[in-house]
């Protein structure tokens, strides 16, 4: 009653996004945003996922009626890809971008799967002489997860495959004694760099795309991903 006109409460994902952006801004990353309804070109082709290749099956994609060649973006890698392309045109290399945004997968929902969720996607590109490497990616991601989940967490890289990175790596964090899969990462594939108008003999860099809801769920112990998108204020506990 004495708290008349009190402030509203924030959605947990917004709290976390602000924190994550703060961490990456401190590391010199620029925030990138982009469309949710994306062309197949930026969602797939640019990222070295050719048409009629089984790699397209790795994500369950929403295609659009009467809008050929468009999809609901399956990752925010499309956003950072656009940002890198633009930076290249403006001669802004080295560059680093970070994007947190909603992405979509056409799959049945349950406590750990939603048709929409958030992804955090980052990219850092330097000239060959800058030597941006997997070690740097490990440094950046370790720093990030320590800030998000606490200094006691550990981070681990395991081999994987994504068409847009080579080498490709799956990132795991150890939180409260358990190894958890956070998402994919790797060194940007030369074909991707070329598609973005860069010369892979002159630049190299890393990219990662991790589940953002996942971080929120782990951090606060939220048991069901669907709670995040039900418009229920009981979620705003933090």
């Amino acid at each position: 009653m004495e708290k008349e006109n009190k402030k509203g409460t924030m959605h947990p994902l917004s709290i976390l996004a602000n924190q994550a952006y703060e961490v990456f801004s401190d590391l010199g990353f620029e925030i990138a945003t982009g469309p949710e309804l994306e062309s197949e070109w930026y969602n797939f082709d640019v990222l070295n996922v050719p048409k009629d290749h089984p790699a397209r099956d790795m994500q369950d994609t929403f295609f659009i009626k009467d809008k050929k060649d468009y999809v609901l973006r399956t990752h925010t890698t499309s956003v950072t890809a656009r940002a890198v392309e633009q930076a290249g045109k403006e001669g802004r290399i080295p560059c680093a971008f970070i994007s947190i945004g909603k992405i979509f997968r056409n799959e049945a929902t349950d406590a750990t799967h939603e048709m929409q969720f958030y992804q955090i996607d980052g990219v850092m590109i330097g000239n060959i002489s800058d030597g941006i490497s997997i070690a740097h990616m490990k440094g950046v991601l370790t720093h990030f997860y320590k800030k998000m989940l606490g200094d006691e967490i550990e981070i681990e890289f395991r081999p994987s495959f994504f068409p847009f990175t080579e080498p490709s790596i799956e990132v795991f964090t150890k939180f409260k004694g358990k190894w958890l899969e956070m998402g994919g990462s790797g060194m940007l594939h030369p074909n991707v760099l070329r598609n973005l108008g860069l010369d892979p003999t002159k630049v190299q860099g890393f990219a990662f795309g991790h589940g953002f809801d996942r971080i929120a769920m782990v951090k606060w112990g939220i048991s069901d991903v669907r709670f995040l998108y039900q418009g229920d204020l009981r979620l705003n506990q933090f």
Binding site: M1, G8, H11, S14, Q19, G28, F29, E30, I31, T33, L37, D52, H53, D60, F62, F63, I64, K65, L72, R92, P94, K102, N106, E107, A108, T109, M115, Q116, G126, D130, S133, I134, A135, M137, K138, G139, V140, E156, F157, P159, S160, F161, E166, P167, S168, E170, M187, H189, W220, G221, S223, L228, Y229, Q230, G231, D232, L233, R234, Q237, F238
Partner: protein
């Protein structure tokens, strides 16, 4: 891909124990999704083979070769022990009429005896979840799960003339082995004889030339098809088979030779009376031998780890790569099955995963880059901060809804449209949260959402906010323009960021799924009694079903008395509470309050 430990052992007799394999797979090869103990002390692993290694790892032999190199233990190729049948001359004719077939090897075997398979074969197949059918079909499957090459057998006596691999004709029909009628388009590839369609190339056999219990003579097919063509055809016909999975990921045509030898040997072992004819192998364009160059320096720069030429040499030897090394500049001959190795970066991955990425130590880079402000995000942050300060709470709703202007195809849900506004969702959300207002401790529900909406030709970032009286919605840009003229303090944004630091640490508390009951109690007390005194009595008597409260929501003075009003919210995590039990608690509370006196003046419940 299911992999049997015992089957693996036939290639690598010195395989380490199962528990040692789990980490080797996960840290150096690919994810082990599960592991199951089977009869005969066998263990079956489910391995997630991703498209880059589907050329060689969708097979026991491929996995065994990897493990042999990773553990540096001997690999015994059972092909070397295969019996080679004596062959008679043949009249088999094979004609490839499409460039989508890269190689086709056929072999006639007469006088076979179709029967049950030997026990070891049945065990191997059953261990990886495959049903035994008969010795010929089983042999074909053993070869596929063994080395990754799909094969097929036709009943020779049901084949009319030669084997032709050709484009299908529009409208051509065939019945598959599992009795499915398929209609072809001219872009599909089929195996046919001079009269009939015998199989969908690389995908599924047809009924016409099926091997059954009366079959005496067969034609073996070991072939290689264009991966894209197989994928397109299978997608169009909606057929999923293990053969399709292997072909669509691309296989080396070189594998055909090995698979034909192996399949022939298996059949000879099971049918010693069989008469083998010569292999007819049509292989128009041999797979090129590829070389790949890379340098120690570049690999080290990609990994961010100093790798030595000797470490690389050791790896190349263990993997049986042919190579040359000139001062750390390596050139390898790419093994024919390793279609994934095409560029220097691929070798960085090979070296990285084999050494283990734990060797790579993290360091935070510094680059020369001046980040610019992202206008869209700045506006979002600004709008959110303003609405929070105005007492609105933030919600997020689904992008999907029942009607709209943009429709998604083949959705897994019944909500097939993308929202055109935020208002509809916000309305529902208001209803839900108003019901929960006592739980939330809010007198009035005020909420907002910032999110994308989709019109026919464009998407737009919107802001919507409202309470039970009205909801306002506009584009983020409009909101920003409109609010700019307000007294809103730009510094609030910065203060808001400071305030964020408080959000760490707390744990999510799940809400009860049972209904709650809210009750109020108002008390007259003499002046000088503070609300905490009243709250204390309530707390002592309210029991343990309180989810929220006692919360003071009203206070006023009249004469020398003060009125305090408290709200209590009852809720259980295990059951629905009854009115009666809550009434009993409230009676208990009121009785205790009525008993109280201050300076001789009694407390009264209003």
């Amino acid at each position: 891909m299911k992999i049997s430990y015992n089957w693996l052992k036939s290639y690598i007799p010195e395989t380490p124990d199962v528990d040692k394999l789990v980490d080797i797979f996960n840290y150096h090869l690919c994810e082990m999704e599960s592991l199951e103990n089977m009869p005969d002390s066998d263990v079956v692993f489910d391995i997630k083979v991703l498209p880059n290694r589907a050329h060689d790892l969708l097979s026991h032999r491929g996995i065994a070769q990897e493990l042999s190199s990773l553990f540096n233990i001997p690999f015994v190729d059972p092909i070397l022990e295969c019996k080679v049948p004596e062959s008679k001359s043949t009249k088999l004719k094979i004609e490839i009429k499409t460039d989508k077939c890269r190689r086709y090897a056929g072999r006639i075997i007469k006088n076979v005896k179709v029967s049950t398979s030997p026990e070891w074969m049945i065990k191997y197949l059953e261990s990886i979840g495959q049903r035994s059918i008969n010795n010929i079909v089983d042999a074909s499957n053993i070869v596929m799960y063994g080395c990754g090459q799909p094969t097929h057998a036709f009943d020779l006596d049901k084949v009319d003339g030669e084997i032709i691999i050709r484009d299908a004709k529009d409208g051509e029909k065939m019945t598959t082995l599992d009795n499915k009628e398929v209609n072809f388009k001219s872009s599909n590839i089929v195996i046919a004889d001079s009269k009939n369609t015998l199989a969908i190339a690389g995908i599924k056999g047809g009924k016409i030339a099926e091997v059954d219990n009366n079959t005496k003579n067969i034609i073996l097919e070991v072939a290689n098809f264009d991966s894209t063509s197989v994928r397109k055809t299978a997608q169009a016909l909606n057929i999923f088979t293990d053969a399709r999975k292997r072909y669509e990921n691309d296989l080396s045509p070189e594998l055909v030779t090995y698979a034909m030898k192996k399949l022939s040997a298996l059949i000879l072992e099971m049918c010693p009376e069989a008469i083998f004819e010569e292999i007819v192998d049509v292989y128009p364009k041999k797979q090129e031998i590829k070389k790949l160059s890379f340098s120690v320096d570049r690999i080290s720069k990609i990994l961010g780890l100093t790798v030595s030429a000797n470490e690389i040499k050791d790896i190349l030897k263990r993997y049986n790569f042919e190579f040359e090394n000139n001062n750390g500049n390596f050139e390898i001959v790419v093994p024919s099955l390793r279609l994934d190795l095409t560029i220097e970066e691929d070798m960085a991955e090979e070296i990285g995963r084999i050494l283990g990425y734990d060797k790579v130590k993290g360091k935070v880079p510094k680059i020369n880059f001046q980040p610019k402000q992202n206008k869209m995000y700045a506006k979002i942050l600004w709008a959110r901060t303003k609405l929070l300060n105005d007492g609105y709470s933030e919600i997020m709703n689904s992008t999907f809804c029942n009607n709209g202007e943009v429709e998604v195809l083949a959705s897994a849900s019944d909500k097939k449209f993308l929202r055109t506004n935020l208002t509809d969702g916000l309305k529902e959300s208001l209803k839900l949260n108003q019901l929960n207002a006592p739980l939330l401790g809010m007198n009035e529900i005020k909420i907002f959402e910032i999110g994308t909406v989709f019109k026919k030709d464009k998407e737009e970032m919107h802001v919507a906010y409202g309470d039970k009286k009205e909801i306002k919605e506009m584009s983020l840009d409009e909101f920003y323009k409109k609010a700019e003229s307000d007294t809103f303090d730009q510094d609030l944004m910065l203060r808001n960021v400071d305030h964020l630091q408080k959000h760490t640490g707390a744990a999510f508390k799940m809400w009860s799924l049972f209904p709650f009951i809210a009750r109020d109690v108002a008390v007259w007390v003499p002046e000088g009694v503070i609300n905490e005194d009243v709250a204390k009595i309530i707390k002592e008597n309210m029991g343990n079903m309180i989810i929220k409260g006692p919360e003071l929501f009203d206070e006023f003075k009249k004469g020398n008395q003060i009125s305090y009003a408290f709200r209590l919210v009852f809720q259980s995590f295990e059951r629905t509470l009854t009115d009666q039990e809550v009434n009993d608690i409230m009676t208990q509370i009121t009785n205790k309050i009525k008993d109280k006196k201050t300076n001789g003046v009694g407390w009264q419940v209003r």
